[in-house]
């Protein structure tokens, strides 16, 4: 462990806002990329299921 206390870990020697800001931003971008395809697929299935019901599909 490079830090003496949890407080020192959060403070990052005065660079806390920069470091944690970057990691927070990264988490947001990764979460967006992980969640977006699932949302798009659910929307497609919903719309396509409605189309198939209208046309009396399989």
């Amino acid at each position: 462990m490079n830090f003496d206390s949890f407080g020192a870990f959060l403070a990052m020697g005065g660079h806390g806002p920069y470091v944690w800001g970057c990691y927070g931003l990264t988490l947001l971008v990764l979460l967006y990329n992980l969640l977006a395809p699932g949302r798009r697929q659910r929307r497609f299935v919903r719309e396509q299921a409605a189309r198939q019901r209208r046309s009396g599909g399989p």
Partner: protein, 255 residues
Amino acid sequence: MKFPAPLVRLWHRLGSPRWFFETTAPWLPWLLGLGVALLGAGAFWGLALAPADYLQGNSFRIIYVHVPSAILAQSCYMLMGSCGVVLLVWRMKLADMVLEAAAPIGASFTALALATGAVWGKPTWGTWWAWDARVTSMLILLFLYLGIMGLRQALQRPEAAGRACAILAIVGLVNIPIIKYSVDWWLTLHQPSTFKLTEKPAMPPSMWIPLLLSVLGFYALFIWSVLQSTRVVVLERERRTQWVQNFVAAEGSKA
């Protein structure tokens, strides 16, 4: 030149979106687990265990998210350029689907690399933004991604849109070596690469091992995202086929 038969078979199968959809399904949970584990280990090691940099202090820990996102931004573009070649030369539909799916992911990683670079620049260079050669060529990369996405939106006919995006993706490849060598060709603020293929890293192992873990984790999550997004594009574009309609009927009855 004669290619071995299994390779030729694989190439023909890759032309089939249905084959892609069915084959990639079992890979997804493994890629996701691997990515989360590698990135989690890299980030924890980089944030809490690695020693502080003797010049930059703790702000250098931004490297563990900045470098992976910048590497992935360029890898994603090279993937799209290759897909452009495959689409134009072999007319493979799947290549166009990957090109569509990868563009927003690559754009998001490029924006992340620029944003984390700006935040890192403030305590290190004393400024959020500099018209430095590396920063500027990455900004051009972001515009290339946005241009490819906009082109697809703007063109009505899917085949024409696919070809136009492929051409733009290929032309934009010239920017990749410019990004790579920008730190050598011009006198820049940006520091040179940490990893080189031919030399040992200038950092101690306690600093570069977490970086390697985090780069590999980013790759796994990126591959997961591209596969998953391409699968949705496959469904959307093949919606008139029997197998997609059966898939939708099965999913609909689950919900």
